[in-house]
Amino acid sequence: MRNRLIALIAAAVCLVGILGGEAWYLWLSDGPKPTAERPVTVSDLAQATAVDAARASAEEILSTTWEDYDAQVEKAQSLMTETFAIEYGETSGDIRDEFIASKTSVDMKVVWAGVYRASAEQVQALLFLDQVTTRGDSGVRTTPYRVLVTVVSSERGWLVSSIEAR
């Protein structure tokens, strides 16, 4: 009887261990990190949704006009992580007076967008943008840009954590 009890307890402990391992695999294990060989580790739909968010946010953040500069900065900051919003606020503050005085308007349009890296937590999108700048009465100038936009998953959806232009 004693041996039977020991065997049953041992079996129960083993099975609990197996169930724990299965639960970890199904619900708790972290997804793979993106690499050069496997840059996307989420579904097509998930990465496309994030790239669309990066595209829309970049256009909103990078477009602004002297007529309602402060309101646009505030709106842009609502699309960013806290850290990036602070950094953006400082940069926007530095150029504010000159931007308004010169009656500058910047309109950014995404020409092409593609996914560079994507995981469940973070997506980086490469965007080709055309920047249309209007300054006072001095006409319109269009400049091509390439930017890498990083968005991170949050309770508020995808938020921009960096924009790198080179």
Binding site: L8, A12, L15, I18, L26, L126
Partner: protein
């Protein structure tokens, strides 16, 4: 005390039956969990193959753009052959037809262009075709730049198709300013 032995036996017997039921229950759960794990693993393997396609098309586009933009007037044929080797027959033919002018211009200007791929972005990918955008940075040195390196940064769109397990370039466009 002698009367305790049958009682002790009954308790152990009851515990044994309870444990046996628990083990059976846990066993059933483990089998069901195992099925879910197996199915998840199968799904994951297919997803991994699909996701590795992104890496394959990024690498192919990057290699082709890098080959195209690193050209030296002293040996332009090396660039041309590398690009053609990574292209479909149709695109290689079009490229060949266009390179006569390229070789001439490069030689006349004593042009040396170097470029690095900064980023690649997959616009669209299917089992046999893909569109990738590529951002590059680099310089060109030629008689027009006074033999000094001048910055040349490009936005490029590459179309790819898969043939015999290889991703080949079927189209390439320098993306101009679109918005006016």
């Amino acid at each position: 005390m002698a009367g305790d032995q049958p009682r002790d036996g009954m308790v152990k017997g009851g515990l044994s039956r309870l444990l046996a039921r628990l083990v059976v229950g846990l066993g059933v759960l483990a089998v069901v969990g195992g099925v879910f794990v197996f199915r998840e693993h199968q799904t994951g393997s297919q997803a991994t193959r699909d996701q590795e396609r992104y890496g394959a098309v990024q690498a192919a586009a990057s290699d082709q753009v890098s080959a195209l933009l690193n050209i030296d007037y002293r040996n332009p044929q090396a660039t041309i052959e590398t690009v053609k080797a990574g292209s479909t027959a149709e695109f290689a033919e079009q490229f060949d037809a266009a390179t006569g002018g390229l070789v001439e211009v490069t030689a006349q200007a004593k042009s040396v262009m170097t470029a690095d791929v900064l980023w690649t972005g997959v616009v669209d990918v299917h089992p046999d075709s893909a569109t990738v955008i590529v951002a590059t940075t680099g310089t060109v040195t030629n008689t027009l730049t006074g033999e000094k390196p001048a910055a040349r940064n490009f936005r490029i769109k590459v179309d790819l198709v898969q043939e015999d397990g290889r991703w080949l370039m079927s189209g390439l466009d320098f993306v101009p300013v679109v918005t006016q």
